[in-house]
Symmetry: C2
Subunit: 308 residues, 2 copies
Amino acid sequence: MSKLLAVGTVAFDAIETPFGKTDKILGGSGTFVGLAASQFGVKTGVVSVVGGDFPKSYLDMMENKGIDISGIEIIKEGKTFFWSGKYHNDMNSRDTLITELNVLEHFKPIVPESFKDAEIVMLGNLHPQTQSSVLDQMTSTPKLVVLDTMNFWMDIALDDLHTVLKRVDVITINDEEARQLSGEYSLVNAAKKIHSMGPKHVVIKKGEHGALLFNEGNMFYAPALPLAEVFDPTGAGDTFAGGFCGYIAKTEDISFENMKNAIIYGSNLASFCVEKFGTQRMEELTGDEVKKRLQSFRELTQFDIEIS
Amino acid sequence: MSKLLAVGTVAFDAIETPFGKTDKILGGSGTFVGLAASQFGVKTGVVSVVGGDFPKSYLDMMENKGIDISGIEIIKEGKTFFWSGKYHNDMNSRDTLITELNVLEHFKPIVPESFKDAEIVMLGNLHPQTQSSVLDQMTSTPKLVVLDTMNFWMDIALDDLHTVLKRVDVITINDEEARQLSGEYSLVNAAKKIHSMGPKHVVIKKGEHGALLFNEGNMFYAPALPLAEVFDPTGAGDTFAGGFCGYIAKTEDISFENMKNAIIYGSNLASFCVEKFGTQRMEELTGDEVKKRLQSFRELTQFDIEIS
């Protein structure tokens, strides 16, 4: 069992979907990655920052899930990062209503001593320089560095992004971002270009249309589980990434074959995440439910044709 | 080996894509369905209508592929149905430039005697009354009736569509059309509503995002093969349907398990169709190429997780 270091946001979200509306609730990429990885019983350390307004009960919940929170800095006089958004009817697009960076604005992640030798590192969607600074603190070379990013950083910090990408094994990115980063419309060609930027593995997330995994010679497709109702998509992408990293950390196998399983697990966990607002479903999720849904993924995708 | 009756258009298309532009070339849903089904060596009869301007060489090509063309009426003094369209850069949307119905306007399909007992019937995208008239001509109840339709018929002939749907086993429809027909956004809920209209099986085509197969208790997902270049998407949906029907006709097995294989075959053949303009790739396609690509579909989708 490997150690997993996850750097990301721990935040307040306020969400509006066609199903309802929340006040400030627990959110953030680090939170969702940590909760997803906790399903695998791996030692996961979350590195982030919150303000004095962040409830201790949230931190307690994370600790109870086995997440190491010693890397979550608390700035007493500061306020926690806050994001508010409203999803459209199709749940594939959303408007950001409020973004208050607060303590995130000057966030300098500090990796706890006990995680400087983590074998798996998940660099959540933050400024590429911030992501680089995490790798600089590692005392041994990680077995696998996974990076998530978004179009915002391509717009304002592309050079920094290219710099950190050279140190990354797996990039997770959505389809539009893959097109923007590569300048290629076809996702096959986009993956090829992104390989040449550093990452040996490219994971392209397509939301309700699933996710593609590429290395230089292979590709694999994990569908999203078609659901009767998507209640709140917030955190699904981070849960996917957390499931991916958690499974790799548990199995300690970075072969392409095993990464296939990892993205199926990621998609599996993401399918739960969207069933309730915020982190609620992930907090109550049991291992038996995950196993049962894995069977649904099998039925959804596995076929048996004789090639005669 | 069952007989397959396919009713649809045999037409001229003029196509513009980012890769180039054609003059009038061979097209039509009946043509693409027939060519796809010909891969399985099943006895396929195409019922359609063309004008005196339709080249004999096209009919010869179809016959050489083993397609029974006795049901293709030739109206000497009439002109063949002509469609012209231009695809946008993303290949997922297109503008229709010209639609000349010509002989299709008063098309009354006449099923040849030798196909009135066909076990598999594919009702291509035509007026629902025209689709019904084909079923009325059958002398024995088909084992499987597959219907394709589009939003146009929902707009102008919804009652007729509901009438024919009661006699249909499988409907193939794209995601937007499934939403329009059912009034449900979620495809899971849409399929449920469409089941209640008649079809025990619902196939929802999502273009580059693959296709979903539903019956009342199960669902299965066939991805589209990610391609470096999609040259011309025209006919991909009909090729998918033709592959589906051809495989079912060959195997004579209408279980859900076998329908999984059928939509994988449909997706497989569609992945070739888009590689060249019009019918070109389907005309030259060999069985060995199909088998080889089936292996790619396996690698793309099959995984092996121990559920412990």
